[in-house]
């Protein structure tokens, strides 16, 4: 049996040794192999794409879906796709943002909803996690769609530990990864 991890640099383990990444810690805990499809700088659309492609050919034991910052997208310049974010943005990205934040939020929500539905229908356990803060209106919308997204509620047991003590001083330390793995273990065991 295998499991699947979706996400961005946090799940990829940027800034820590691969053995310290929370995905590796979960692998050890569950004694299972986890396919880590995370892509540094990746976006929600790519996470959904990974899930779709993997579900088509396999039946993972569970899926950890760490949803990247909503304000990311791929813009195509001919056949070259560039992963963009607010620090690395083309005219298209900036125009979409200027028009409305919903140009990012709505597709992001749709990705989460579609991923959740795919997992539900294929009877695959999924834990959705978000390291970013989310505006209450979107938290409500996600709840209304019967999707459970584990955010940083800054409450005991409902927080994701953060620092910037990864080796790049941008990402998070091995201690954070260990706490994420512990919280995820609890969440996975709850849903069993």
């Amino acid at each position: 049996m295998t499991a699947l991890a979706l996400g961005c640099s946090h799940t990829f383990g940027v800034g820590v040794d691969s053995s310290e990444c929370y995905v590796s810690l979960l692998e050890k805990y569950y004694n299972t192999s986890i396919i880590n499809t995370a892509r540094p700088g990746g976006n929600a659309q790519q996470c959904l794409q990974q899930l779709v492609e993997h579900l088509r050919v396999s039946s993972p034991e569970f899926v950890i879906a760490q949803w990247p910052n909503p304000f990311r997208r791929t813009t195509w310049f001919g056949n070259r796709g560039l992963d963009e974010n607010i620090h690395k943005a083309s005219a298209v990205f900036n125009s979409l943002l200027a028009a409305s934040s919903k140009n990012f939020m709505e597709p992001w929500l749709q990705c989460i909803y579609t991923a959740d539905t795919l997992c539900k229908l294929s009877r695959t356990k999924v834990i959705h996690i978000l390291f970013e803060d989310l505006e209450p209106e979107y938290t409500e919308l996600i709840k209304k769609h019967n999707v459970v997204l584990h955010q940083d509620l800054k409450l005991p047991g409902q927080t994701w530990l953060f620092d910037s003590a990864g080796s790049d001083n941008l990402h998070h330390s091995a201690t954070c990864h260990a706490q994420w793995a512990e919280r995820l273990t609890g969440l996975l065991n709850e849903t069993t």
Binding site: Q45, V52, W76, G81, Q110
Partner: protein, 216 residues
């Protein structure tokens, strides 16, 4: 929660007088599936529903794009098990853009829109990649539920994209195959959409494709 309540009042509205539970099928698409220019009873969804003796739930959205198709089908499949799905894919070069809190689907006639224009200028991949991804998503959803799904489009599809679809084992029935076209005219009441005769031909062709699908 009643299905009526669940679907009413969203921006992804659709042309469907009444929703039902039990044995049924669903269609999705744009104005063509919405039977714009015709009485709804002349649309191919209604013809199929009549011929196959089961309700046809029309989740199409006139002017809609692939994102709306995915959203509506996903929402439907999450709570229902239709007998089959017919996905008519709208023109790929359409984009759902939000401005001032409301959404509009822009299309190739929106060339006055600088954002849409820039996106198109950067590359048609900005439209086609997501369009194909949407088709793949619906394919996998239907495969997961073991529901036959027929993908079709009235648009011509560039061979490069057809190849990508084939590589992903997706069969998209377009008009590229000259031996098996989707009839088109401009004889609906609005002189832009297609006549009842076209819808009748689409229904016949779709029935054939469904039979092929279920006997494979």
């Amino acid at each position: 929660m009643k299905l009526h309540d669940y679907f009413n009042g969203t921006w992804t509205g659709f042309r469907q007088p009444e929703l039902v539970e039990g044995k049924h099928f669903v269609t999705t698409g744009c104005s063509h599936t919405g039977a714009v220019g015709l009485d709804i009873s002349q649309g191919y969804t209604a013809i199929l529903a009549h011929d196959m003796r089961m309700p046809g739930i029309n989740l199409s959205r006139p002017g809609g794009n692939h994102q709306i198709c995915v959203y509506n089908i996903t929402r439907w499949l999450r709570y229902n098990q239709p007998d089959f799905v017919i996905a008519q894919w709208p023109h790929p070069v359409r984009k759902l853009i939000w401005r001032n809190g409301s959404a509009a689907v822009l299309n190739v006639h929106a060339d006055q829109d600088p954002l849409f224009d820039t996106m198109l200028r950067y590359g048609e991949e900005n439209f086609y990649c997501e369009w194909i991804q949407s088709m793949l998503t619906i394919t996998v959803l239907c495969e997961t539920m073991k529901i036959p799904c027929v993908h079709w489009t009235l648009e011509d599809v560039d061979p490069a994209y057809q190849r990508i679809l084939r590589d992903n084992n997706i069969v998209l029935h377009s008009n590229n195959d000259t031996s098996s076209v989707w009839n088109r005219d401009h004889n609906a009441k609005d002189k832009r959409h297609h006549s009842a005769a076209c819808h009748a031909q689409w229904a016949q062709k779709l029935k054939g494709l469904l039979n092929e699908h279920t006997t494979q």
